[in-house]
Point group: C2
Chain length 246, copies 2
């Protein structure tokens, strides 16, 4: 079968991988992906050929998967979280224009916005935005504009890629932009690190305090809307049932 599954395996171990994702990997001849993700799953799928590439080789990985499928093999291209949220589904579909004989199927997974929110409580209970602070592939001006609009719309916000060695002050800058655009400094916020993996950590704080937090690239950040509250140590954005008498 000339087919590539692009598979979201969720945040960490098996507990988060859907049966649909398992079935895709089981019927594949080859599993390919970033080394860390292949290491997470390879013992569960013995007998599969494995193909790993380092972090920055995303396009080469997609092309390799499509070439393998063009040769008649079934391939699963693995993504952490969801394949369709800052994952490989997009670039794979774009490159697949050069491989019209190859079918592409996107298999969704639990992205960090959902798994991290569950760890913190229910910060994304109502309308929300997901924004990546990485400017590797996006001009910073566009990121800044989106932060401003998210603040003006009073959305809850989930930030991906809040920091890296080269971008150590980006979260600080983002908090400043949000406050300048109207988010109150007292807005309840939180972060989760290593979601669903060993060493999972979480912390709640205000937006003003978030500005001084040191986070790494394995951290997902949550910023409340004007209605978000801390309840029993959890971050909760009400849906509006108060008017019905919670």
């Amino acid at each position: 079968m000339n087919k590539v599954f692009v598979v979201g395996i969720g945040p960490g171990g098996e507990a988060y991988t859907t049966p649909q994702a398992r079935a895709a990997m089981e019927q594949s001849d080859v599993l390919c992906g970033y080394t860390v993700y292949i290491d997470l799953v390879k013992e569960q799928y013995p007998g599969k050929e494995l193909y790993t590439t380092p972090m920055t080789k995303e396009l080469e990985r997609c092309r390799w998967a499509l070439e393998q499928a063009a040769d008649g093999r079934t391939v699963s291209l693995l993504c952490s979280g969801d394949a369709g949220v800052y994952g490989m589904a997009g670039p794979l579909l774009q490159l697949s224009e050069q491989f019209p004989e190859v079918e592409v199927e996107v298999v969704p997974g639990i992205t960090s916005a959902l798994s991290g929110a569950a760890v913190l409580g229910a910060p994304l209970m109502h309308d929300f935005c997901v924004i990546s602070l990485s400017d590797l592939l996006t001009p910073w001006e566009r990121i800044e504009k989106r932060l401003q609009c998210a603040a003006e719309g009073d959305f809850s916000i989930c930030l991906y890629n809040p920091s890296s060695k080269k971008r150590a002050d980006y979260l600080q800058k983002a908090c400043g932009i949000l406050m300048a655009a109207g988010k109150a400094p007292e807005t309840p916020c939180g972060w989760v690190k290593n979601i669903g993996r060993e060493g999972q950590e979480k912390k709640l704080m205000t937006l003003r305090e978030l500005q001084d937090e040191q986070v790494d690239m394995f951290t997902t950040v949550f910023i409340g809307s004007s209605t978000t509250r801390e309840i029993r140590g959890a971050l909760v954005t009400p849906r509006g049932y108060e008017q019905k008498g919670i």
Copy 2:
């Protein structure tokens, strides 16, 4: 154990339910939820007590679950999609302030934004907003403001609850607001109906055409950003790898 799991079971059948969600249901004494969701899972968990309530009785269901847990039982409160996105995690945590002896654990699931995006391709590949058009619990002015800000920020947008019998023209109104706020009428859009269930359907169209679509409450709507394109019948928002030579 005095515990309520609030469990996202994903969009439809077993294929989308994570092992973490299965484990929560298996260790529960009672499964409770909206009648339709209990019907989806009850045969897989024989011997569990079942408690179902109709659509509008969300708070009663949360309170019942907490009361059962306070009596020493372990309860799974089921939500379709994710428990934390327009689900029951929020109201349950809010009500749990009255039940300090009860532990609440949120178990994430595949929400329609992710499962629907996978059916259409990769429309949420880059920064996106999720907005519900239901004004049952949210003033329409707030929804309108969020639509405007989402358009101004050039986000991809996923709309939940795009229509109902009482709100037959809300999607039409939303499309008008988005175009007035700068979304091009040619923006690629799509919808998915009955995601992961029998009778799943999808359709692609422009934003101008979306304005005249008739959709129901089982439909999730996707609106592209300025970079979203149709590729081989799929809706794709590029991540920006073009500059690296896709």
